[in-house]
Amino acid sequence: MDIKLKIWRQKNASTKGKFENYELREVSPEMSFLEMLDYLNKQLIEGGKEPVTFEHDCREGICGTCGLYINGRPHGPATHTTTCELHMREFKDGETIIVEPWRSKAFPIIKDLAVDRSAFDKIMHAGGFVSIDTGSAREANAIPINKKISDRAFDAAVCIGCGACVAACKNSSAMLFVAAKVSQYAMLPQGKVEAADRVQRMVAKMDELGFGFCSNSYACEFDCPKGISVEFIAQMNREFLSAKLCSHKNH
């Protein structure tokens, strides 16, 4: 198949970017989207031009490195699919495909399609952990955990930190990302001890880093490649509220 591409090119953070047009012939429908970009880059390099910078690593949908805004959707048109798992068979012969980086103030552009998502790590530093030192754990089966609860915690824990939720949200909210971690730990006995502190610290950090508020559009869930449910946002809101109420009581 032949395709046309409109790709955002930007030399670095301080330079203005613009769309460049490319035409690519003999694309195989079996190619993944990133293999298609590899193919484009090979032609650019051999033609003496600068290749398109885009981030990727595992290419099997689990590391969360890749993330392109394709035809107006994070990770493109396929549901529950990361950019690296997206295949060209999802597109039509002759189609024009628009490729942009994640668009969010909290994720500044580094170059072309690569953005800086270190804000996510900073939120995790604020409380995305259970405070236990190596060596002090008790026997793993000492605390039984109801299978339903444990499975639910797993459903929250599958977040790959790609940032699609932020890119999908018109407010650039990171609520789904934060809620997934807060909920995972709040549901497990190991994480419960610090749950009230954790949610307050992580939410405060999220606000400080310039992520927007949540207006319940559910775009995050819709575009999350792992299908993480917005119910976790509701759960986080409950955790947050009760933490606030308790901390008021104590003061």
Partner: protein
Amino acid sequence: MIKLDSKIPGGPIADKWSNYKNSLRLVNPANKKKLEVIVVGTGLAGASAASALGELGYNVKVFCFQDSPRRAHSVAAQGGINAAKNYKNDGDSVYRLFHDMIKGGDYRAREANVYRAAEVSNEVIDHFTALGVPFARDYGGMLDNRSFGGVQVSRTFYAKGQTGQQCLLGTYSSLNRQIAKGRVKMFPRRDMLDVVIIDGKARGIITRNLVTGEIERHGAHAVVLATGGYGTVFYLSTLALGSNATAAWSAHKKGALFANPSFIQIHPTSIPVLNDYQCKLTLMSESLRNDGRVWVPKEKGDKRHPSQIPEEERDYYLERRYPAFGNLVPRDVASRAAKERCDAGFGVGDTGLSVYLDFKDAIAKQGKKAIEDKYGNLFEMYEKITGSNPYNEPMRIYPAGHYTMGGLWVDYNLMTTIPGLYAIGESNFSDHGANRLGASSLMQCSGDGYFILPYTMGDYMADEIKVPKTDIKHPEFEKAEKEVTDRIDRLMAVNGSQTASSFHKRLGKILWDHCGMFRNAQGLQKGLELLNQLEEEFWKEIKVPGSKTEMNQELEKAIKVADFFEVGRLMIEDALDRNESCGAHFREEYQTEQGEARRDDANYSYVAAWEYQGPGKKPLLHKEPLKFEFVELKERSYK
């Protein structure tokens, strides 16, 4: 002249580690605060080591090439993590796990290290559970286990098909806690390009900042490499595209011996190659062989749809050849058996280079829901990549380069032959012999990082308490930085016409064809010739666009590919030296009448540790003899 001293403590195998720990010197908390450690890599090994060392009070600096430590390739491990808990009451024990690993590794691993890995495995599971890792549970709320290849017990803990992700996020969380406390400083988006040695001791590293292109110097009292394996040498492999050998290779060139480089695991169940532009093969977890049955048609070149091939016309060749272990034979055995069937003309798919992994019977017996619970995400992943639904038709799979048992030689302290330079996780060679059993990689990485290195490093640091912080203006830093800069300049200056990836692809093909699943002396020699020719062409024809003072992914690739040529050469040297078959190293000249690996214990029961002798010079072989005091050397049989 390097003398290998493995520092294996004496005494009965079960007491070695506890006695040794009691003999190790300690560093008091006030002194730990004065000491700096560099950890390179943030996978399960690096992140666990960094957080455990941070908890102890050391000042830790951690480096990764990814934008976040959470993306290290441990994240992609699927099936599980082993431990000798014996929760299933099926006869498991630390000794049994140890024995399975020694046998699985075809008697080419060091007994004491393997026993210790098995011994700390239970603590690893306790710790991960305490960190909030959501392992699968049964209806009573207890942790569940499943079975893996090469063993007859169920000792594998798992979190659906995402065990690596969940364990890695566990170590990432403990790392974050130390970062928040200021005990660990994180340096993401850095490629380590050299190790700096001052007066014979590792004192720092040289990195390239992948955003600015700046060449940076970082000093410390000790350096830990947790930089993973070099399986991407094959180009097409199950690894992340960024995985590379450069950090470990730079240490090798500075004097760290490299052990058993030809021991590379070819994983039997990967999604086959689908198009010519593919640069990555996706693994389908070994755990699938718990319920999936491997088969090919009995008739050569049978092109019928699998559902049209009746039961009696299918050859379940693993069950036929290995009745005791059936579909759960170890990886090396399963891979060779698949290649054998395909080479003999029984392979399926357009290319004939794949076999079926069929869940029909499991679905009929257990129901679709049970299979979905266990492998849901893997089935989805398979469908996304291939467009075919494995609930309705069998998966097609084929072997792919996966894990490197070989790596930097380390002693019992996990220290390389360079004092103060440690190698942990996949980057060392020590625990898996000539073949790794499934679910023992996550186990080894986290054991090394959380429960072994923090002890052994103290013994070295006890002598460092009076040593001031490393001065990064030292002439050795100067020299190392210049070497790195010169190599980058040399790559940029070629200005040829071919991309780094195109060379990598050709190099991978040479190694896959000549130093892959089946090897022979003639083929290896031929491979060496082809590799040398291609390397020469590389240095004449490589094209690196852009500049070195910016984000430049092509430069990153070119640096790595340049090193892969050298790694590949050492793999071939090693494979040529070892005139026997063992585990993943299968020399066609040395096989039994049934086509199984034939070891030569009298002549090759050693670790081959290679010393770098300079560019263009033959590496020097050192042999560490392997002693088997606690297991009996036997022919490895899964029949």
